[in-house]
C-alpha cells in the first residue's frame, strides 16, 4: 500500500549516497498500531489481582468538614479499603507551592477537593461505596472572583495549617503553605522591570491603554486521566502513569512516601493526549498509591469524563491591563502591564506562567522600557495547571490586539508598525534573551503575503457600513516562544543510551517521553541520519525509568531540540567507534570512511567496504570483544534567570505570524474562521508530515480557545462538564490552513531545528480579535468570541471591560 511505498521511498533515498530523511514526510512509527486499535493505553491495562479505585469529592465549594463517616461504605461487600485523611497520617503536600494535601483534612476549598477514596473489586462497587460515605459540612463564604479575594477583609482560602488538628505540629514555620497557612489570598507575585519608565513615557507621542479578560479552558485530552499503582513484596513502587515528567515525579512520589526515589519505577504507557496537563502531580495519584499500600494489591484509578472536566487542571483566567507608548514614527517607547490570575484554590504550574508571559511582553518587539506586575490569586475555583503555550496565549492575545490599536492610533498599517518594532537576528533583549536565529520578519511578510493581508485589510475597513450583514475581516498576530528548551530546573538536559546489536539494529533509549507529538520518529530520523540507516533499523525505548536515562520532561516545546541533540550526540559517538574499528581493519583513517545505506563506505569513492552488521559482529566475536553501546547527555547552553527574571533561558527561540480571515454574521454574531495563513520559524523542518500535524492541531486548538471553548465556572461550580456544552471544534468547522515554514537554521538546533509544539495555538485568538475589528469596527476584549458575546458587542450591549482590581 501507499504507506509502505512512502517508507520504502525514503529508505531508498537514505541508502543512496547523500540521501536524507531530514525534511521528508515520515509517517509516525507508532501510527499503524494506533490505527488498528492495538495500542494499549493505561485504560487498557489490567493487572492480575487489581482493585479499582474511586474518589469522593467535595459536595461544597468552600466548607469546613465537620465529620466523615465511612462505616457503611466499609461494610459493602467487595470493598477492600476506604480511606480519608485520618487514615494517612503524615500526608505530604503536593503542587508547585506545596499548598494541598492529596486527601483534604478539615476543610474543602473547591468542588474538586478529595475527601475520601475507595478501593473495591470493581468500579461499580467502588462507586456504590462512595454513595454510602456520609460527610457533614459547615459552609464558608465562596470567593469566585480574584478581585474579591484581594479585598481587605476577604475571607482567606488558606487561613491555617492544613490538618490543624495537630497532625502536622511537628512541622515548623518556613514550610510549605499546607503546613503554615497563608495570611492573604496571594499565591504568587511576579514583578519585572527594565529601563526607565519615566523616560519611556516622556519620549512617547502616543500612549494607548487596553484591558482584556481571558477565560477558563481545559485540556480535554481524549484519554481521561488514570494511574495504576503496585507495590512489590519489598516495598518498591511500580507506577503506570501518564506523566510528562517521569523523573521529576519519581522524586516527588519518593518525598511523598518517604522512600528512596530509586525504589520507584514509572512506566508510561502511550498517552491519550498531554498538552501540559501531566506536568504536575495531582491528588488522584498519591491516593491510588495510598490505596495500593494499604490493600497490598495493584490499584487502578481512572477518571470519568465528568471528573476529567471537574478535577483536571485548566488554563487560568487572566485580567490584563496594558499601557504602551510610541513615537510618531511608530517606534515603541515603553510598555506597562498589570495582570491578575485566577489561581483557583491551589497552586499548580498555572501560577508560574508569568515567566513566559513576561517574555512576550518585554521581548516580542523591541521595547526599551518595560514593567510587568502580576498576582496569582487564590479563589474557590478550579485550579490552573500548565497548558500548551503556558501563559503565552493570554499574553499574546493582549499584546497583539494592543499592537493593532496602537498602529491605528499612530496611523500606520499594522504590518508596517510590527515590522518597525520586530526583533531581528543577533538582538539581545533587555531581559537577556539572545536571538541567535530569528525569522520574525520573514514570518510577518510571508503570512501577510499568503493571506493577502495589506489589500484585504485596507478594503475590509471601508465596508463597515455596507448593507450586507456578512462582513469579512483579516487580522494578524505573532508570537515568540522558547524553542531550545527552558532552563527552569537545575538541568534542562536529556540523556540517551544507544545500542547497536549484531544485526545493526539500533535501540535508541531516550529519557524523552512520547506524548503523541511524534518525538520517537524525529529522534529516530536524527539517529538514522548519523548512522546511514533506514528508519526500520531503529527501535525506541522511552517509557520506563528503570531503563531510560534522565530527562527533565516533555514541556516547553523542548523535546526535538534537547532530546534531538542528545540522540545525535550518542549516534556520533557510536559512529566514531565503528569507523575507528573499520579504519584499523581496512588500514585507513576513520575520516576516510562513512556509514551509508547500512554499509561502511569509502567516502571518496562511495565504495561499500563492509556490511555494517557484519562489521559489528566482527567486533562482538573478536578476541577484543566490544559492544557498540554509547551514552550521551545533552545540556543546552542556556542560563537560569536571575532574581530579576533576566537571563537567556532558552538555547533558541521560535517565532510565528498568523494572518486569519474571518466572516462575521452581524445578524447572529457568528464568527467563522475562513482561512489561516501561518508562517512559523521552526529553524528547520525535520519531519514535514509531523510538523504540519503539530501546526494544524495547534491552530484548531487556538480556534477553540478563540471561538467555542469556555469552561463556565459560576460560584466555584463548573456548569458544563461535558462535551455537549463544552464545545470542541469539530471536523466541518476547520478553516483552510496555509502553512509556511521559515527555516532559519538555528546554529545550536539538531540539524538546525527549533521547538514548535506550543507555538501554533498561541496567535490565533489575537488574530481573530483583530480580524473581527477589521470586519466590523468593533473591538472584542473578552474571550471567547461566542455568538452571544459578539452580537452584544456589535449591538452596543456589552459594557467595555474595565480594570477594577481591589488594590
Amino acid at each position: 500500500m501507499a504507506v509502505k511505498e512512502a517508507v520504502k521511498d525514503t529508505e531508498a533515498k537514505t541508502a543512496a549516497d547523500g540521501g536524507t530523511l531530514i525534511g521528508k514526510r515520515i509517517p509516525k512509527m507508532d501510527a499503524p498500531m494506533k490505527a488498528s486499535g492495538k495500542t494499549r493505553y493505561i485504560h487498557d491495562i489490567n493487572l492480575p489481582g487489581q482493585l479499582h479505585a474511586k474518589i469522593l469529592r467535595s459536595a461544597r465549594v468552600h466548607a469546613r468538614i465537620k465529620k466523615i463517616d465511612t462505616s457503611k461504605a466499609k461494610a459493602l461487600p467487595g470493598v477492600h479499603a476506604v480511606i480519608t485523611a485520618a487514615d494517612v497520617p503524615n500526608q505530604h503536600p503536593i503542587g508547585v507551592a506545596k499548598d494541598h494535601l492529596p486527601l483534604k483534612t478539615d476543610r474543602v476549598r473547591s468542588l474538586r477537593d478529595e475527601i475520601a477514596a475507595v478501593a473495591a473489586d470493581s468500579v461499580e462497587i467502588a462507586e456504590e461505596a462512595l454513595k454510602l460515605i456520609e460527610v457533614e459540612y459547615e459552609d464558608l463564604p465562596i470567593l469566585s472572583d480574584p478581585r474579591d479575594s484581594l479585598k481587605a477583609n476577604a475571607p482567606l482560602i488558606h487561613p491555617e495549617p492544613h490538618g490543624a488538628d495537630g497532625t502536622h505540629d511537628h512541622l515548623k514555620q518556613g514550610m510549605p503553605i499546607a503546613y503554615t497557612g497563608k495570611k492573604d489570598n496571594i499565591a504568587m507575585t511576579f514583578d519585572y522591570a527594565q529601563g526607565d519608565m519615566a523616560q519611556g513615557k516622556a519620549e512617547s507621542d502616543i500612549i494607548v491603554e487596553d484591558c482584556f479578560s481571558l477565560h477558563y479552558v481545559t485540556h480535554c485530552c481524549m484519554g481521561v486521566s488514570g494511574v495504576i499503582a503496585e507495590f512489590d513484596s519489598s516495598g518498591n513502587l511500580l507506577l503506570y502513569s501518564n506523566t510528562q515528567v517521569p523523573f521529576l515525579h519519581r522524586r516527588e512520589f519518593a518525598d511523598l512516601l518517604g522512600i528512596d526515589p530509586g525504589r520507584i519505577r514509572i512506566i508510561q504507557p502511550p498517552i491519550g493526549g498531554g498538552f501540559g496537563s501531566k506536568l504536575d502531580i495531582y491528588p488522584f495519584e498519591p491516593i491510588a498509591i495510598y490505596l495500593a499500600r494499604i490493600t497490598k494489591r495493584p490499584v487502578k484509578l481512572v477518571f470519568s469524563r465528568e471528573e476529567e472536566f471537574v478535577a483536571s487542571p485548566t488554563r487560568q483566567p487572566v485580567l490584563l491591563r496594558l499601557r504602551s507608548g510610541c513615537k510618531k514614527d511608530g517606534t515603541l517607547t515603553f510598555r506597562e502591564v498589570d495582570t491578575i490570575h485566577d489561581n483557583g484554590a491551589y497552586t499548580s504550574w498555572g501560577a508560574t506562567t508569568p515567566f513566559v508571559m513576561m517574555q512576550t511582553i518585554s521581548s516580542l518587539y523591541r521595547v526599551p522600557h518595560c514593567s510587568y506586575h502580576t498576582k496569582a490569586v487564590y479563589t474557590n475555583n478550579p485550579y490552573a495547571g500548565s497548558f500548551r503555550g503556558y501563559g503565552n496565549l493570554q499574553a499574546t492575545f493582549a499584546v497583539e490586539a494592543h499592537m493593532d490599536r496602537m498602529a491605528e492610533a499612530v496611523g500606520m498599517d499594522p504590518l508596517a508598525f510590527r515590522l518597525k518594532n520586530a526583533q531581528e537576528p543577533g538582538e539581545v533583549t533587555p531581559q537577556g534573551m539572545n536571538f541567535k536565529s530569528c525569522g520574525f520578519k520573514d514570518c510577518l511578510t510571508t503570512a501577510a503575503e499568503h493571506g493577502d493581508y495589506e489589500r484585504k485589510h485596507r478594503d475590509n475597513a471601508t465596508k463597515w457600513n455596507d448593507p450586507n450583514p456578512i462582513k469579512r475581516g483579516v487580522g494578524m498576530a505573532s508570537m515568540l516562544h522558547v524553542g531550545g528548551g527552558a532552563k527552569i530546573y537545575q538541568s534542562d538536559g536529556c540523556g540517551t543510551i544507544l545500542k547497536i546489536d549484531d544485526f545493526a539494529h539500533v535501540t535508541l533509549i531516550t529519557g524523552a517521553s512520547e506524548i503523541g507529538q511524534g518525538s520517537e520518529t524525529v529522534l529516530s530520523q536524527l539517529v538514522c541520519e548519523e548512522l546511514g540507516l533506514p528508519l526500520s533499523a531503529v527501535t525506541v525505548v522511552n517509557n520506563d525509568t528503570d531503563i531510560t536515562p534522565w530527562d527533565v520532561g516533555v514541556h516547553a516545546s523542548r523535546t526535538t531540540f534537547i532530546a534531538g541533540n542528545s540522540a545525535i550526540g550518542a549516534a556520533r559517538k557510536a559512529k566514531s567507534k565503528i569507523l575507528g574499528m573499520a579504519a584499523a581493519k581496512f588500514d585507513t583513517t576513520a575520516e576516510a570512511l562513512d556509514l551509508r545505506g547500512g554499509f561502511v563506505i569509502d567516502k571518496a569513492s562511495g565504495k561499500r567496504l563492509v556490511d555494517l552488521s557484519k562489521m559489528i559482529r566482527s567486533l562482538h566475536f573478536s578476541d577484543k570483544a566490544e559492544l557498540v553501546m554509547t551514552t550521551f547527555y545533552y545540556e543546552p547552553p542556556s542560563r537560569h534567570q536571575d532574581r530579576e527574571f533576566k537571563g537567556d533561558v532558552s538555547a533558541a527561540y521560535a517565532w510565528a505570524s498568523q494572518v486569519i480571515e474571518v466572516e462575521v454574521d452581524t445578524k447572529t454574531g457568528i464568527v467563522k474562521i475562513v482561512k489561516v495563513s501561518a508562517a512559523h520559524d521552526v529553524g528547520r523542518v525535520l519531519n514535514r508530515l509531523g510538523i504540519e500535524g503539530q501546526v494544524e492541531g495547534g491552530i484548531v486548538m487556538g480556534q477553540g480557545y478563540a471561538l467555542t471553548e469556555d469552561l463556565m465556572v459560576e460560584n466555584g461550580t463548573i456548569r458544563n462538564p461535558n462535551f455537549r456544552d463544552y464545545k470542541l471544534v469539530t471536523a466541518p468547522e476547520i478553516p483552510e490552513m496555509d502553512i509556511s515554514f521559515i527555516e532559519s537554521m538555528d546554529g545550536e538546533g539538531p540539524q538546525g531545528a527549533k521547538g514548535v509544539g506550543e507555538a501554533p495555538a498561541i496567535c490565533v485568538a489575537a488574530a481573530v480579535a483583530n480580524a473581527i475589528y477589521n470586519a466590523t469596527g468593533v473591538r472584542m476584549t473578552e474571550l471567547p468570541f461566542t455568538p452571544e458575546r459578539v452580537y452584544r458587542a456589535l449591538h452596543g450591549k456589552a459594557a467595555p471591560m474595565t480594570w477594577s482590581d481591589a488594590e
Binding site: 501507499a2 486499535g37 469524563r305 503523541g516 491552530i699 484548531v700 470542541l728 490552513m737
Partner: protein
C-alpha cells in the same frame, strides 16, 4: 447488582455467546468482558465517537448502547475492521497522511470513516467532514484525518 442476561451475537465475524449485566453498555462489554480494548471510552455520553462500533452495518456510540441489545446482531469493532482489507487500506491511509498523533481517537475515526465510505464511496471532502462530525480529536486539527479518508476514496476510483 442488576440481573444478568445471556446473549448470542456475531462479533467480528465469529459467533459469540456471553453473559452480561442488564445495565452494562456495549462499550464495557467489548472492553471488559470480551477484552477488545481498541474501542475507547472518551466520554460515556455519546459526544466523542471514541467508542464507535458497527452494528448490522451502522456505526453507533457503543457507550450509549446496552450490551444486551447486541443479542442477535452483527457487531464489528476496530479489531475486526483492522483485520479486513478495507480496514488495512484505511489504516495505511491514516498512517501515510499523518492522521494519527496520540491515537486515542483514531479507532473511532477509522470505524466512522469506513461507514462513511461504505455509504458513499464518492464522498466529497465536505461530505467526509460532515460524516465524521460526531468524532472528536484534540491533537490533529482534523485536516489530515479528512485527507486520509479522502485518500481511500480516491484510491478506490
Amino acid at each position: 447488582m442488576s440481573a444478568m442476561v445471556d446473549i448470542t451475537f456475531k462479533l467480528n465475524g465469529i459467533n459469540r455467546k456471553t453473559r452480561v449485566s442488564a445495565t452494562m453498555s456495549a462499550l464495557d462489554m467489548v472492553r471488559d468482558v470480551l477484552g477488545l480494548t481498541g474501542t475507547k471510552y472518551g466520554c460515556g455520553e455519546g459526544e466523542c465517537g471514541a467508542c464507535t462500533i458497527s452494528v448490522d452495518g451502522i456505526t453507533l456510540n457503543s457507550c450509549l448502547m446496552f450490551a444486551a441489545d447486541c443479542d442477535g446482531r452483527d457487531v464489528m469493532t476496530i479489531e475486526g475492521l483492522a483485520a479486513d482489507r478495507k480496514g488495512e487500506a484505511l489504516r495505511d491511509s491514516f498512517v501515510e497522511h499523518g492522521a494519527v498523533q496520540c491515537g486515542f481517537c483514531t479507532p473511532g475515526f477509522v470505524m466512522q470513516a469506513h461507514h462513511v465510505l461504505e455509504k458513499n464511496p464518492d464522498a466529497s471532502e465536505a461530505e467526509i467532514q460532515r460524516g465524521i462530525e460526531g468524532n472528536l480529536c484534540r491533537c490533529t486539527g482534523y485536516r489530515k484525518i479528512v485527507d486520509a479518508i479522502a485518500g481511500v476514496a480516491a484510491a478506490a476510483k
